[in-house]
Amino acid sequence: MAEKVIKKSDHYEVEPWRMTGYIHQQVMNDAAIQKIMQDKMMYLTWMHKQEAGRCLPGYTKEELES
């Protein structure tokens, strides 16, 4: 099922009413949201740098048929 989302200062957020039944939202200010976005971009960029310079070989025909 598609989430109901809102767009807020450059990122998507679930509509808060969806978070009132089972799991509740915690106290979190915009700086904390910005920090998560910063950490995420840093981590993904770093991960990309680890892998982007090489190409993983696929299976050989023999391996596939074995």
Partner: protein, 405 residues
């Protein structure tokens, strides 16, 4: 910049023989259900000990088990002390990294660990080695109750006023154990022509107290904020990154929005360098690398200023790593020094790993931006014989400015 991110339901204590709060149990299930264990692979304690009970996953799962009636609270006696409160797990956890900003629900391991140490202590269940930690708390409390002159004796001869729009906050660790750090900070600011003051009586801030007696710690926090306000502070410069994390992440929880800006010393000094107010007159011809303090890099997302300062040092050859790679490391002290006191052997192994890594990148000096890192690495260097010198970045800035510290 205040970073607020916490769960109200952590305030309900977990008590022996009583049902665990439903919210807490569901929250622990969120971590249990993930099982990616990204938290585990880079947890400095897990890397040394290989025990999954001592990871974010383990801490949450253990509590979940307790909430389902499996086990007893006293079995957790020695579990939560294994956390350095470095924050790696909570930022790398998919619950935070890939869903936290969307759902406004994150993994908050550091807070959970502090809460559980507190809850266990309140019921007389203290980890082995707690006496050492209690001794530190008592010493620091004695400083707080002692004469004002002792608290500012590190600043003797510096002629600093006890008021000002810009105030430098110096914690007890810096004031008593690593005086060279606040002295370097004060001399740098003075040489750059910054008018600033210090508190006549700063109150206790240590993390060991925070996770043992929250009320006493919060009481001191309120007094610090009040005293800084009364001194006329519009900007407060913090010299210890542990305290910086408390000021921007914890204080606003208890005292509301702070009536002044909080700036970490490396950011302040970096701005002065960029503005040309700090001028270097001497080269520092060394091969250096930099250790990001967990409290700055992981807990506060602050990593740029030390890198820019190092890049500006004349003559210095720097091999500086990506801050993400540094999420893996801790000096071994922990954001609350309880870890180092209760688990000196694990602490030492974590320190050795970091020093060896600094050696591997070919550095002769390991620059740090935290007094606890400096002390921890100095001890590890002596014990291990690994030939790399831990030096505080402010001492090098002062050196290049031609200042004697």
């Amino acid at each position: 910049m205040e970073i607020l991110s916490y769960k109200k339901f952590y305030e309900d204590p977990v008590k022996k023989g009583e049902k665990v709060d439903d919210e807490l149990s569901k929250d622990c299930y969120n971590v249990f259900a993930c099982r990616h264990k990204f938290c585990r692979e880079w947890c400095p304690d897990y890397v040394e000990e290989g025990n999954e009970s001592y990871t974010s996953y383990g801490y949450h799962t253990g509590l979940l088990a307790l909430s389902r009636g499996n086990g007893d609270l006293s079995e957790m006696k020695n579990a939560y002390i294994h956390c350095l409160e470095c924050g790696q797990c909570e930022l790398k956890c998919p619950n935070t990294m890939f869903g936290g900003d969307f759902y406004r629900v994150t993994t908050t391991t550091v807070d959970l660990v502090r809460k559980m140490r507190r809850d266990l202590h309140a019921q007389g269940i203290d980890y082995d080695g707690f006496e050492e930690v209690q001794k530190t708390i008592d010493d620091f409390k004695a400083h707080d109750a002692g004469p004002d002159e002792d608290l500012t004796s590190w600043a003797a001869g510096l002629d600093l006023p006890f008021e000002g729009e810009t105030m430098m906050f110096v914690d007890y660790y810096n004031a008593f154990q690593t005086r060279e750090v606040p002295i370097a900070a004060a001399k740098i600011l003075k040489a750059a022509g910054v008018k600033f003051g210090i508190l006549k009586h700063p109150h206790i801030t240590t993390g060991e107290l925070y996770e043992t007696d929250e009320d006493a710690w919060v009481d001191a926090a309120k007094k610090n904020v009040e005293a800084l306000k009364e001194a006329g502070a519009k900007t407060v410069i913090i010299v210890n990154p542990h305290e910086y994390s408390y000021f921007i992440k914890e204080y606003p929880r208890y005292v509301g929005e702070l009536p002044f800006d909080v700036v970490f010393i490396t950011d302040y000094v970096n701005d002065l360098i960029k503005a040309g107010t700090i001028k270097f007159v001497k080269p520092y011809n060394k091969k250096v690398t930099f250790h990001d303090p967990c409290s700055l890099n992981k807990l506060c997302g602050n990593y740029k200023a030390p890198r820019e300062i190092i890049a500006a040092l004349p003559g210095t050859h720097a091999e500086i790593e990506d801050p993400v790679l540094q999420w893996k490391y801790c000096c071994g002290n922990g954001v609350s020094s309880a870890f180092r006191k209760a688990l000196p052997d694990v602490s030492y192994k974590i320190g050795v790993r970091r020093l060896k890594h600094a050696n591997d990148v070919g550095a002769e000096v390991l620059l740090v931006a935290c007094p606890h890192c400096k002390d921890m690495f100095a001890e590890t260097k002596t014990k291990s014989g690994i030939n790399i010198e831990p030096v505080h970045i402010l001492e090098v800035v002062a050196y290049c400015m031609g200042i004697e510290v």
